[in-house]
Symmetry: C2
Subunit: 301 residues, 2 copies
């Protein structure tokens, strides 16, 4: 069991993995509501099942609402690690507020960013299979996370049949996201990747109740590049190019979306594993004008 001491508002129980110097760097940022205020007083350290389901955007049924099980929260400061590769797995995490990254680290110490979990996202799933985390999670801002011990997770599936499906669904969702990522890395140009990244971010901010037109990046160019399989210079140049074309405005970490539609459809000439022979050729003919239109959009740069 976890430490069950709710009066402890500065959880040190994870100290073993958290020897990071805690510079309490509170971001000066555009928080419309509720975010940083989420864990106002030291009171809000636990959530019930209903709140957990709401966080994960899972439909709540009456039986769920009645469930009295409580789930502990835990706070992390910017730069702190939630878990490291190889660490023994026993709990999943749900982001209640804040921003994180999950990374893989290769044999040379190079980081590869895998995802940027934020409010409502579940992470830590990669630890289930081998009982050890396969990646590393780091807080990009102060974070409030809901702990979901894997044992509780599976038990929930058994006690609430309607939840079991949701469990699988959430994991399936993650898999689809990874597939989309693979597809992007395998087939899209640098500009298309950055464009899609921005659109995706905007949509996620919108889901969270923030502005999708103006927001602050929580990650560096280097981290974006790592996520997208590009160098930080390419990311920077691409953002500058989008800025010149008028698709966005850029000022350091602050991004303004000016032409979301153009960003969404931006593609450029199929650069890699494109050639799709018969079927592709047919459809390419049908869509010929679309491609050329996109070209001209971007070609004026």
């Amino acid at each position: 069991m976890l430490s069950t001491n709710p009066s402890e508002h500065r959880p040190e129980f994870q100290a073993s993995i958290l020897h990071t110097n805690g510079h309490a760097n509170s971001h000066p940022n555009v928080h419309p509501n509720s975010m940083d205020a989420g864990w106002q007083r030291q009171g809000k350290l636990w959530s019930n099942l209903k709140e957990l389901c709401e966080a994960l955007r899972i439909p709540t049924t009456p039986s769920v609402a009645e469930e009295e099980l409580l789930f502990q929260h835990v706070q992390f400061k910017t730069g702190q690690r939630i878990y490291t590769i190889g660490q023994s797995f026993d709990t999943l995490y749900i982001v209640h507020s804040g921003f994180l990254k999950t990374v893989l680290i290769d044999e040379f110490g190079n980081e590869q960013v895998l995802s940027f979990p934020m409010k409502g996202d579940l992470f830590g799933v990669d630890g289930i299979h081998t009982k050890r985390y396969a990646s590393e999670a780091v807080a990009l801002s102060n974070c409030d996370l809901i702990l979901l011990p894997f044992k509780k997770f599976t038990a929930l599936g058994r006690s609430h049949a309607e939840l079991e499906h949701a469990m699988y669904s959430v994991m399936s969702r993650e898999l689809v996201r990874e597939q989309a990522m693979v597809s992007m890395l395998g087939a899209l140009s640098a500009e298309a990747r950055v464009a899609r990244f921005l659109v995706s971010l905007a949509e996620r901010f919108a889901d969270m109740g923030y502005s999708s037109k103006l927001f602050n990046l929580r990650m560096t160019r280097h981290e974006i590049g790592s996520y997208l399989g590009l160098t930080l210079e390419t990311v920077s140049r691409t953002l500058s190019a989008f800025n010149e074309i008028g698709l966005i405005t850029v000022d350091q970490r602050s991004i303004g979306i000016k032409d979301a539609d153009a960003l969404k459809t931006l593609r450029r000439l199929p650069p890699s594993s494109s050639r799709a022979k018969q079927v592709a050729a047919k459809k390419a003919r049908q869509n010929a004008q679309v491609i050329s239109t996109n070209w001209s959009q971007l070609g004026t740069a």
Copy 2:
């Protein structure tokens, strides 16, 4: 039951699939719905739970061995599609024999290969979330698949508690595989990707009881390229290069592994999102002992 709903996306196509019966060229007029009674005796068309678990390499417990539930098999011939994108989801598939590919198809009809399922692999999982398959599966050879209706799948988790964990584990395994894929596409050179692909194939063949030193590719250069985010020409050139260096032998689809170790460690100068400098340095300071441990472990290689 396999999608026998004529109002689905590709009614006639599905129907034709269902009529194909790998080993029995008779019964040209059999209805999909009437399979169970008629075909059971013609060889291995059903598996029990124990066999299913063995196929998935899941530990079998006594209670599993006693389970009398039967799971239907279905055969597909080379080139046939198992399901298509957007098709209503209700069953998962386990490869009993044969080779397949799963692909994503973009708006121009270009294929992006996501995986090459073979014996023991589970696929179709991406359909759980939206209730529609997010990808398309195609047989690269004649295949024998075990049908695992999702309802049965979840029910198994409930009736056999020890299986529930296995269910999540299998899905987690898939997720880790996708992560490795993302990492590869984001950070490795063309040669390293092809090398790792060959090593991975060799290991999977070994798992299946085949030779890991000499095997036939079941996919084209184009499909390999699509999978690895490369063009078919680059794949071909890289294989030729490996051949000249003596790492492998190549003759069309036939591959002989000559120096597995060299293939495994082949990397080349970190080509993309590598440079770990600042971020790594910062983290090194914060978590000095942890990181340096990792470095010393691997840096001396």
